[in-house]
Amino acid sequence: MTSLETWKTFEPESYYKSFLEKNKRPDGRGLMKVRPITIKIGTVTTAEGSSTVRVGHTTVMCGIKAEIATPALRNPDEGFIVPNVELYPCSSPKIKMGPPGEKAMGTSQFLKNVLHSSGVLDLKDLCIVPNKLAWCLYCDVACINYDGNLYDAALTAIMAALQNVRLPVVSYDAENDKTSVASERTLPLMIKLMDPTAEDESQGSGEVVVVLLENGSLCTTHKPGGQLILPNILDDFVKLAKKRVKVVNNLIDRVLTERMDTS
C-alpha cells in the first residue's frame, strides 16, 4: 500500500479536503467537470431496444422487452412502461446479494417519475386496440460497474434504448378475437420530447439531481436530503445541467444516425 492509499483509508476526510482546497477531485478533474460519456445502442439482440452507456467508469445497460397486455380498466387506451434498476453484486463491493437495496429502489422510482412527468412517450401510442391490447415495455437497467452517478447513466441509457426500440406490427381480428403479430420488427416508437438528461452532483454529503428537457424546462428535481443549500445554488445546477443536455443529446443523435447509415 502506498502512503497515499494509507492516507485515503485512515483519514478520508482530510484526504478529500486536500484535493478540494485546490479545486480538484482525486481523479484529477475540476469540481464542475463531468466525466466522459459514451453511448452505444443495439447492444443486446434479445431485447427490442437496448443501449450501453458509460459515464466515466460507471457502466449501465438498458434492455427493453415488449410484451402484450390488457390495458388497465382505468386507462383503457394506454399502454404500460415499467422501468426497473438492477444493481448487480458484481458492480461494486458495497452491493450485496439479494433483493434490490435502497439505491436501486430509489433510482427505479426516480426513473418512473421522470418517464411519467416528462411525457417523453405518450402512453396512448402504446395502445394497440383500446380495452383489449396494449404494449407493455419493460425497461430494465442493469448496472455492471457502479462508480457513482447512477441517475444520470440510467436515464441516458433508458432514453437511448427507447429510441432504439422497434416493435412488430400487430393486427387484431375483432370477429374471431384473434391477434397476429408480424415477424419483422419495424415500428419505431414516437419519442416526442427528446432526451431528458439528469445532472447529478454528489459531493460527499449532498446530492442534487436536476432533469431538464430539451426545451429547457425543468422536469424533475430530486434532492433527497443532504446538506442545506441556498436557492441560488440550485440555479447554478440548472445552468450546468443545461449545458450537459446539449452534449448528451448530440451524442445520442450521432449514435442514432450512425446506426441508420449502417443498417
Binding site: 443486446v44 434479445t46 445497460m61 402484450i68 397486455a69 422501468p83 453484486p89 442493469a142 460497474n145
Partner: protein, 280 residues
C-alpha cells in the same frame, strides 16, 4: 409468480410475450443447405471476444462474448468471512450467476429462479477445485457473474469468464479453467451450440425420445495433462458417444485455452507498458 415483489416497480398483472402470437414456421435443426444456421462447420466453436478489467470496482473482472452470448464477471476477495460462519482452514467460495431480465428471448423475472440457482451451484463446484483453497484460510472469495445475453453455451461461458476474472484478480489457481459445450443431434456432434440449437434439441428429446443430448465440461487443460473439474450432461447419449464427445470437448477447451492465455499475456504487457509510460 408467488408473491408480489414489493421492491420493484410492477407492470400489469398479466402480460404475454408477443412471440407467442406470431405464426410459428415449421423449423428444422439445420439451415437450408444442410449446414448449421450460422454457417459454421460441425466442430467449430463460435467467435470469442475477451477483455479484462471491465469493472473498475472489482479486484478482478472479465467480459466474454461467445457469438451472441455475453457474460461479465467480477471477483472480490479474498476477504474476511462474513461474521457468524465457523472457523475454516480453507477458503470459502461464493458464486452467483445473475441473468439480466432482457437476456433471453422471453423476459425473465428479475427474482432469482431455479435455473440461476442451479448454475450458481455448478459454477461453484467447478471453481472450488480450481482455486488453491488452502492458500486463503479464514477467508472468502466472491465470484459474481452477470449474464447480459444468452445465446447458448451459457454455463461454459460463465466458467471461462470466471476463470479469466480469477486470474485478473491475482488469485492463486491450479490452472486457467475453461468451459465448453457440445450437442448431439441425430447422432452427429455439434460444437458450441447456439440457443436455437439447444432449444430445438431439447424439444425433440422430449417429444420423440430419440438419442441426443448436451455435454458441458469445465476443465483445466494444462494441469496434470488436463483435469475435468465439472461435467454436466443432459439428454440421452450412449457411453461410446459420450467418450467421443469428451474428446472433442477437450480439444475445443485447448483452443479456447490458447486464446485466453493470449488475452492474459496481452493484458499484462499492456499494463506494463502503461506503467512505464507513467513512470517516464
Amino acid at each position: 409468480m408467488g408473491s408480489r415483489d414489493t421492491r420493484r416497480i410492477m407492470g400489469p398483472e398479466k402480460s404475454i410475450p408477443y412471440s407467442l402470437l406470431q405464426t410459428q414456421e415449421k423449423s428444422s435443426f439445420l439451415g437450408e443447405d444442410s449446414s448449421r444456421r450460422d454457417a459454421r462447420s460441425a466442430v467449430d466453436p463460435r467467435k470469442y471476444f475477451m477483455s479484462l478489467g471491465v469493472i473498475s470496482q472489482a479486484k478482478g473482472s472479465s467480459y466474454l462474448e461467445v457469438g451472441n452470448t455475453k457474460v461479465c464477471c467480477g471477483v472480490y476477495g479474498p476477504m474476511d468471512v462474513q461474521r457468524g460462519s465457523d472457523f475454516n482452514m480453507s477458503c470459502k467460495v461464493l458464486c452467483e450467476v445473475k441473468m439480466a431480465p432482457f437476456s433471453c428471448l422471453v423476459r425473465r423475472s428479475p427474482q432469482p429462479d431455479k435455473q440461476q440457482k442451479e448454475m450458481s451451484r455448478q459454477l461453484k463446484d467447478a471453481l472450488e477445485t480450481v482455486i488453491i483453497l488452502d492458500k486463503f484460510p479464514k477467508s472468502q472469495i466472491d465470484v459474481y457473474v452477470t449474464v447480459i445475453e444468452d445465446d447458448g453455451g451459457l454455463l461454459a461461458a460463465c466458467i471461462t469468464a470466471a476463470g479469466l476474472a480469477l486470474c485478473h484478480a491475482n488469485i492463486d489457481v491450479y490452472d486457467l479453467v475453461i468451459g465448453a459445450t457440445v450437442l448431439w443431434h441425430n447422432g452427429i456432434l455439434y460444437a458450441d451450440p447456439t440457443h436455437y440449437e439447444e432449444e430445438y434439441e431439447g424439444r425433440e428429446i422430449r417429444s420423440s425420445g430419440s438419442e441426443g443430448g448436451q455435454l458441458t465440461v469445465g476443465m483445466m487443460p494444462k494441469y496434470a495433462n488436463g483435469q475435468v473439474t465439472l461435467l454436466v450432461q443432459g439428454g440421452q447419449v450412449s457411453a461410446d458417444n459420450l467418450c467421443e464427445g469428451l474428446e472433442v470437448v477437450v480439444e475445443i477447451c485447448q483452443r479456447i485455452y490458447n486464446l485466453s492465455r493470449k488475452t492474459l499475456v496481452e493484458y499484462v504487457e499492456q499494463s506494463l507498458e502503461e506503467n512505464e509510460d507513467n513512470a517516464s
